[in-house]
Structure formats: structure tokens, C-alpha cells
């Protein structure tokens, strides 16, 4: 039994994760929605990715406002280079899992296959998270902190 057919990485959400700190909420939501709609246009799943991205945006805003002091933010963007591995991995993990949960449940749209959906979701989360960290490490800029 293989797991390859179950896990699908969605790396495009890295774009939403890496938007700068100072971005207004409304713009963030619009960008998230637009990104999602673009994905939907190609996946032919109108609205599924858009909704998932909006949820991701909400999680992003909430997590940032809880974990960071708004006035003390001097870093331009929440990337691995600026924020460090610990913060970034938790940030990415929460955003990815929220996004994937909404995405897969909206796609399945029923609770009777909940085991299958959760398995797909979990495996995809791991895959996406791995690739996101990989990308972040590839474009890692050593900064003086």
C-alpha cells in the first residue's frame, strides 16, 4: 500500500505565507481569495481553494497577532531567514493544516469518508510542509539578527 496517491502538496500557499507583515488585512484577504480563485480556475473546483486560502489568511493574521508584538515587528516578512526555524515551522504548520483541512473537507463535502479525508489531509500536510521548509532553506538569506 502506497501513500503517494493520497498526498498532494500545495506549495502555492507559500506566497500567502511570505506576504510582508505590514500588509492591510483587506488586501491580504483579497490576495488570498484571488490566489485561490486562480488555482480553482485550473483545478476546476470553483471556490474550494479560495475558501481554504481565506481560512489560511485568517489563521495567519491570528497567529501573528498572538505570537508577535505588533509594535516590535521590525522584520519585513515572516520568512525562515528572518524569524528563525522554530517560529516559522510552527507558523507554517498551523497555516498549512488549516488550509488543507478546509480544502479537503470542502472537496469531499461529506463526513462519511472522514477517515480517508483526514488521511489525505495529514499526508498532504506533511508533504507540503516539507517542501515549504525545503524552499525556505534553499532561498535562505543569512541575516544579522
Amino acid at each position: 500500500m502506497g501513500f503517494y496517491d493520497l498526498s498532494t502538496p500545495f506549495i502555492y500557499i507559500l506566497f500567502l505565507l511570505l506576504l510582508p507583515f505590514g500588509i492591510p488585512n483587506i488586501l491580504l484577504y483579497l490576495l488570498a481569495f484571488g490566489t485561490g480563485l486562480t488555482l480553482d480556475a485550473f483545478y476546476d473546483t470553483m471556490g474550494v481553494h479560495a475558501t481554504a486560502c481565506v481560512v489560511l489568511a485568517f489563521v495567519r493574521i491570528s497567529f501573528i497577532s498572538i505570537s508577535l508584538n505588533r509594535d516590535a515587528i521590525d522584520d519585513p516578512e515572516p520568512s525562515l531567514s528572518y524569524m528563525g526555524f522554530q517560529w516559522f515551522s510552527l507558523y507554517a504548520f498551523l497555516c498549512v493544516i488549516a488550509h488543507h483541512l478546509v480544502l479537503f473537507f470542502l472537496e469531499t463535502f461529506r463526513l462519511s469518508e472522514i477517515g480517508y479525508t483526514l488521511m489525505r489531509c495529514g499526508l498532504s500536510c506533511i508533504f507540503t510542509l516539507l517542501i515549504i521548509l525545503l524552499v525556505e532553506f534553499i532561498f535562505y538569506r543569512r541575516t544579522s539578527r
Binding site: 488585512n25 483587506i26 484577504y29 488570498a32 481569495f33 485561490g36 480563485l37 480553482d40 473546483t45 470553483m46 471556490g47 474550494v48 479560495a50 475558501t51 481554504a52 486560502c53 481565506v54 481560512v55 489568511a57 485568517f58 493574521i61 491570528s62 497577532s65 470542502l106 463535502f109 461529506r110
Partner: protein, 279 residues
């Protein structure tokens, strides 16, 4: 208002999330056939169940109307049945008479006032002279059994002198041998389920369980089942027999009655009035 605005703008992330999330869900459901079918089906189920519940109530509330229409339909059907059974014997060939020469027609009426506890009981029904009801018409119960005779008629209402009245005498006969008698009620026994058949000729033998039907000599059509003998051969002082019988009509639960219109009643009355009494 200002406080509200401050509240909204402070938690703008949340409100924007709600807006965009609902928009996304809307898009999802609207544009994807599968999701739409699931959503619509479940909502249809909810709506359908609600309508079903509502329908039970509505059905209950409409019972009166439904009863009215059913009673009217029954009357119509009974009329047709009678028309089919009426045979014109005046001609050489027996012709099954259809609607053209129907002697009796039934009219459904609702009992608006009923009494069974008095010595002389009178009922009121919701049909009157407008509906063609006249004094002396026969009234029967929906299933079977006699009720009484029309007494007074107003425009929209009429009173029935029920069988449970000292002046009501209905011409009946024993079904097995057509022996004539009179149906009366309340001679020392005021049980609304019992009545007496009187003035049966002495040579007739009555037995328990004999059926009593209307004779057809009064306003009632012949052959309407009245009841069964329970106490036969009650001897009286005169030359006639009496019997006690169980009525099939339940006067205490009457809701609908049928008034029988006899088309030939006037003609018959006119003809019979030519005969002088004690001629």
C-alpha cells in the same frame, strides 16, 4: 454606532474572514455540481420534512371541510345508485332508469344541534328551504338507519323531528315477510338505542334477530335498514303484536344526515288528497 464601528474595525480580520469565507463557500456550492447536489438535497430534505409536519396539522384543521365534501360526494353517489336501481315497471320492457326519472335524491346536511336526552327530541341541520328542503321529508343516517322527519324549515336551517319523539311514527316492515308495522320510540323505555315496532298483525311470527326495514309507504324509500328485533311478540291488549328492536342509528353521535327528497311526494299527496276519509 461609533462604538460599533470601532468594534468592527478592531476585529476587522475576523469580519473580513467571515465575509470571504462565506463568499468562498457560496462559490463552491454554486459552481460545483457535486457540492451543489449535496447541499440542495440535504436542504430539500429539511424543507420536505418541515412541510410534512405542517401538512399533518393542516390536514387536521381541514377535517371539517373534507368531511363536508365527502358527505356531499356520498350523497351524489347514493343518488346515482338509487337511480340505477329504480326500475320503471310501467313499460313492457324493464328499463334501468338513469338520472331522468329519479324519484329520490339525497342531500347531505350537517347536524348543528342534537338532543337525545329529552322525551321529544328535535335536531337542527344546516340546510333549509334554499336547498329545497320541505316539511315532511325523510332523514336518514349516513351509514344506515332512520333519523326522523323534517319538521320546520327556515331559509338556511331546518329542524328534524327525530325518531326519539312521541309524535314520530315511521312505517316499517319485517324484511323477511313484509309485514307492516309502525316504528315508535319511548313507550316506557327511553333508551336511545331501542325502539318499538307496533301494530304488527297478530298472525305474523317475529323472532329475535329479524331485520326491520322501512316499508316505503311514508316519506322513506323502501328497504332502509332500521334495526333488529331483540324482544319479539310482546302482546298488547289489542289485536296487534309489538316488538322491541335495537336501532342501528346511533343518535348520540350523529354528525351528518341525509335528507331524502322525494320527487313524487307532491304528486302523491295531491292524488291521495282526492280520497275522502271515511268515504
Amino acid at each position: 454606532m461609533r462604538n460599533l464601528w470601532i468594534f468592527v474595525s478592531r476585529y476587522n480580520a475576523f469580519f473580513l474572514f467571515i465575509i470571504f469565507f462565506l463568499l468562498g463557500i457560496y462559490f463552491t456550492v454554486k459552481n460545483n455540481a457535486y457540492q451543489r447536489s449535496v447541499t440542495l438535497n440535504s436542504s430539500n430534505e429539511v424543507v420536505g420534512t418541515a412541510y410534512e409536519r405542517l401538512n399533518i396539522f393542516k390536514r387536521y384543521l381541514n377535517l371539517g371541510m373534507v368531511n363536508d365534501s365527502l358527505a356531499a360526494e356520498n350523497a351524489k353517489l347514493k343518488g346515482q345508485l338509487l337511480a340505477l336501481n329504480t326500475v320503471d315497471t310501467a313499460k313492457d320492457i324493464k328499463v334501468i332508469d338513469t338520472l331522468t326519472d329519479q324519484q329520490y335524491t339525497y342531500l347531505a346536511a350537517k347536524v348543528v344541534k342534537n338532543s337525545v336526552t329529552l322525551r321529544n327530541n328535535i335536531m337542527t341541520i344546516n340546510k333549509g328551504s334554499v336547498d329545497g328542503i320541505k316539511n315532511g321529508m325523510a332523514v336518514i343516517a349516513p351509514q344506515r338507519g332512520v333519523v326522523g322527519l323534517i319538521r320546520d324549515v327556515s331559509e338556511h336551517l331546518a329542524t328534524i323531528q327525530s325518531l326519539l319523539h312521541k309524535d314520530t311514527r315511521i312505517s316499517v316492515s319485517l324484511k323477511k315477510n313484509h309485514a307492516l308495522g309502525s316504528l315508535v320510540w319511548g313507550d316506557g323505555n327511553f333508551d336511545i338505542r331501542k325502539a318499538f315496532i307496533k301494530e304488527v298483525p297478530n298472525h305474523i311470527k317475529m323472532y329475535v334477530g329479524d331485520s326491520v326495514v322501512t316499508s316505503g309507504y311514508g316519506s322513506f324509500p323502501a328497504g332502509i335498514f332500521v334495526g333488529k328485533i331483540v324482544k319479539p311478540n310482546v302482546a298488547t291488549n289489542d289485536n296487534f303484536l309489538s316488538g322491541e328492536l335495537n336501532l342501528v342509528t346511533d343518535f348520540s353521535t350523529l354528525q351528518y344526515v341525509y335528507v331524502i327528497k322525494d320527487k313524487k311526494a307532491e304528486e302523491q299527496k295531491a292524488l291521495e288528497s282526492l280520497v275522502k276519509p271515511n268515504e
